[in-house]
Subunit: 238 residues, 6 copies
């Protein structure tokens, strides 16, 4: 049993609340236990300049943390005048992941901007962001269909993400902050509804990891992502 | 009757939810109708360098809006690399207002940082921020007393803020976004529990205003702030 | 009597020198006692992008202080790589104030940029700036009329500004730097020739202020601004 | 056979030239085919502030590309005023990878800064950087031992990195730029001399990848990294 | 005769007004014809960090132009968030020139910061700045002597600067803006009271220049600087 | 004899290696003794916006130093977020120098960007940069001719640069870093193949210099530049 009283292969309680705020075309509050992220999807009827006139759309993402989403207050990136390397890594990952399941040609010459803002952090903010962002993106696209701007959905399949890691000697699923701080190896896995990988990012924070550990971690991730995608489907059906 | 179906002197429904997030020493979700702001108070056991060794504390504030808190998406200030003039004006106002009711010498050599982050905007974000921030600040200071770090509260009295304005020819209380966009004159008033002014900022957006209009606006503001302070007291007693 | 040997309701000696520098379409040196500000008005035959094609003009302002305009040297904002929050507040105030008396549609698709640069500071730089900027703006617009680019003036009426404050217990007019540093309440008032308010910004630096004090301050401001507008008229007639 | 005339599991010709420039404590030109990176290691007898007084050292890395190291000229990051998200990701990866094989406590309170500057790019700049940086780091540490500043090496084992990817349907080793641009899946693998993983970063650029493909890619990477470590050893023995 | 009605070897009318503003330890308005620059000298009882504890002082300079000092309005550097390359070149030149005639050890552990702010530009702003800055610096140092903080002056000798250039085919002294824009070669010369060079910066804007032209230009510069130094002496005696 | 074992009028061994990297239209490694600079020329079929539609081309330059090109590591300008004043001065000098020998109208509406990146520094990086950049520029232009995009070369004549200085009391040619650090006067001279000056920048680092010293330095520079231009010709013929 883990400190959080979960078996090694158990997700934290996950909640997906749609229409969380009112202005965005898609707006989701996603909670992985005590980690809470607002994911909004904003439709813009223009594409970035590098895509102008190419007959395709774009999906991109930005990520931020409220200064006191964390145990001790972080400096506000807007006040510092730049986004940290970590922030940029995460928002690039979110954007890449979502684009992997969207047919950009079918989206047409428009852009959907995903904003993932962490209001409370307890580990796994990037995986919660991807998982929630997919739901917000789907809502925004369904709105385009309802408005007659799209005739069919450019979304090919579901996508979700989870973290796995080796804590002590045990591979575990969905690390909370204390586990994340203590783990030997930390891996973020992004997978589609059909069970294929879009991203695998494994890092040995302490001791380098073996091929066997890697395989155990991927097994856990696969299990967790299947559950997350089921939760996305329930939320979207709600 | 106003478009929002309120009489001229009526506040929007106001809700103050304490302990909204878990890490901050004070954490409040304040809602003025559809305007929603998370206000956190973070205690830091150090003061800014200009106060080192002067035997007093400091209270300061930062303000931000989630990119899609607004009707159309705003650019993220962290991505742009700077805070707008408007953001800086507002956070300076929040900090100044709170300091007006805190005995900084009694606070001791520590700083309390207030973060006001707008998750949904519908007019009046700065007045909601001040009103909510006072509650978060009080919670943080009560925590210091509970921990034995302070023996008495450095807070002298309550403080709250409201907007008033001339819409059409009518002075009204607590403007929502459509009223704010249409008004001739917009005034933000910050007042203490004892009925004294801390800040008055009146701007003629359209037609310059007369002394008589100004007096009518101040009467409305006084009424509204008394109600807000009553709501703060109820929330803090809860 | 005040430390500066003035009665409570007396302005400092005010001088307005037109054509102070030679390149700008309007160029004014304004002096409120020892406070000296160069105000230039530059006509640009284009509008900012948010106004393109809307058939109206724009008036905007920028503000700066020479590093050694102050008692001790301030850091140069250009070297620091950003304008302070105070600078941005002031330049937004100047621009808003001037726009309140200009019919932007009549101005046509052009922009007038006002630069207010403080070469010596002794309190009241923002009110001196507004008062001087109006004269520079008028000269620039008269130049447009003289050149046949405008047939009638888009200026509706005069505008000027003054500071008032409670020093000790006494409301006084036109605070110099020692008064400004010591005052309990500081208020900047921007008023038109017809006696209506465009901006009122009152701040309790020390003790919050009452409605009665506010009224006394507004009476003083009204008196001062009437005198300033008379001085503007004399200067423009010169 | 690949367009580059290599079998799927063959590295490009790899050259490691030590003492490439003269001022740095370690200086290596590493070439993976036409990709050429200068890796220098600079010893600084101080640690970053977050480590002061903790009795341990630090290893960090910075990465850059000469503007015309690429097919068409890239904008110079120093002129743009910021490092791209890609640059930050890569330099964080290099630093993390090297720290994984260094006993920071044994290094003592000093910092080694690795600079990886790409003078010619043809795919695989980050893996070449890590592979070359390890040699520069080793030279710098051997210098500290020779100078009597360290009595034993804090380096635990070798580390090297290689890219693998699925091009067409074939998993291949050490992608050059044309392969990298065309591949479905791209994976960077960082592995130690004892065959454990430090980082795995796999991204589906086109079609998501299966577990089987992933295993084939890891097999290739393992083979390639063993060869790279043999080349590092030869270079260090030279 | 030149367009400005001056013989080739004649300076524009030069005026040096001391005590131009009141807060700075030295404050000079220098005018070279229609070029007008405010030069202030600020004494700071601390040195930059790279000089701490070395028992010597420092003299440095900053330079700026008011946005409408020029024929058409320039963008404000503080608003753009950086100083141009030209600004940095000029302020480095001013600082270097002044340091050449100051015994920094005798100055003691203090810094004198020179600010040169152009309020009206008509060519030669950098040479006017150096010439005026020397007078402001002298006043500041004389103040230190008067206050008993220095017993003897660290200034070794006078320094002044002038521009010379080839306009058409004629070498001329002290170019105004129309001449500067049209000239083939432009040279700025900084020389001491004893007739030695501190800086020579010659640039062929159009046709490269010969050794003979260079010698003619230096002859002119020498004549002009002697006159400027005489004017500095008169001003300081005033 | 100098510390470097050279007579006063001797250049360091100079090497010019063309086609040093493979992507640029011109790519040169230039070595002045231990100073090594990569100079690339990139052809872009567009001009900067200030030249659009004017029927002429542009040549510009950027300069950088690898962080550990120097004795102790310098901070990376891209990480600091800005280029130093020194960097800007040097890159402006390189661009100006090259433009002096190019007929921009004949170049047509295209831009050639020169990048000079110092990989090892031992004094004279700016003069090596100009000397090498000319060769890279020539290669790029010859490529345009070979491709039929130009029918004749817009290059009017050769250009090269050298530093001279007074070390001790002796004028010497081509200062290395120890000489540069110790010299009284430092002068950079840029001269054309026909023996005319394009830039002369002389600075008294220590004692101001006389006209006689200046003449001795120019004699040395003339000799050195003639040798450099001969070396450029040999390299271009190779």
């Amino acid at each position: 049993m883990r400190a959080s009283n979960r078996p090694a292969d158990q997700l934290r309680p996950v909640r997906i609340t749609r229409q969380f705020t009112r202005h965005a075309e898609g707006s989701v509050l996603v909670e992985f236990g005590e980690t809470k992220v607002i994911c909004t999807a904003s439709v813009e009827e223009a594409v970035p300049s590098f895509l102008k006139g190419k007959g395709q759309g774009w999906v991109t993402a930005e990520y931020g943390m409220l200064p006191r989403s964390t145990h001790s207050r972080m400096r506000r990136e807007a006040a510092q005048g730049k986004q940290s390397g970590r922030t940029q890594e995460i928002q690039r990952l979110i954007g890449r992941s979502l684009r992997a399941v969207v047919d950009l040609a079918k989206l047409g010459e428009r852009q959907i901007v995903i904003d993932c803002d962490v209001i409370q952090a307890d580990g796994g903010t990037r995986t919660a962001s991807i998982t929630g962002a997919f739901v917000a993106l789907t809502d925004a696209i369904n709105g385009l269909i309802a408005d007659g701007k799209l005739t069919e959905s450019p979304i090919r399949e579901h996508i979700a993400a989870i973290s796995v890691g080796v804590v002590g000697d045990t591979p575990v699923l969905d690390l909370d902050y204390p586990e994340d701080s203590a783990c030997e190896t930390d891996m973020n896995v992004v997978m589609t509804g059909s069970g294929h990988f879009v991203e695998i990012q494994g890092t040995a924070e302490g001791v380098p990891f073996s091929r066997a550990e890697m395989n155990a971690l991927l097994d856990l991730a696969e299990k967790g992502i299947k559950e997350l995608i089921a939760l996305q489907k329930t939320a979207l059906a709600g």
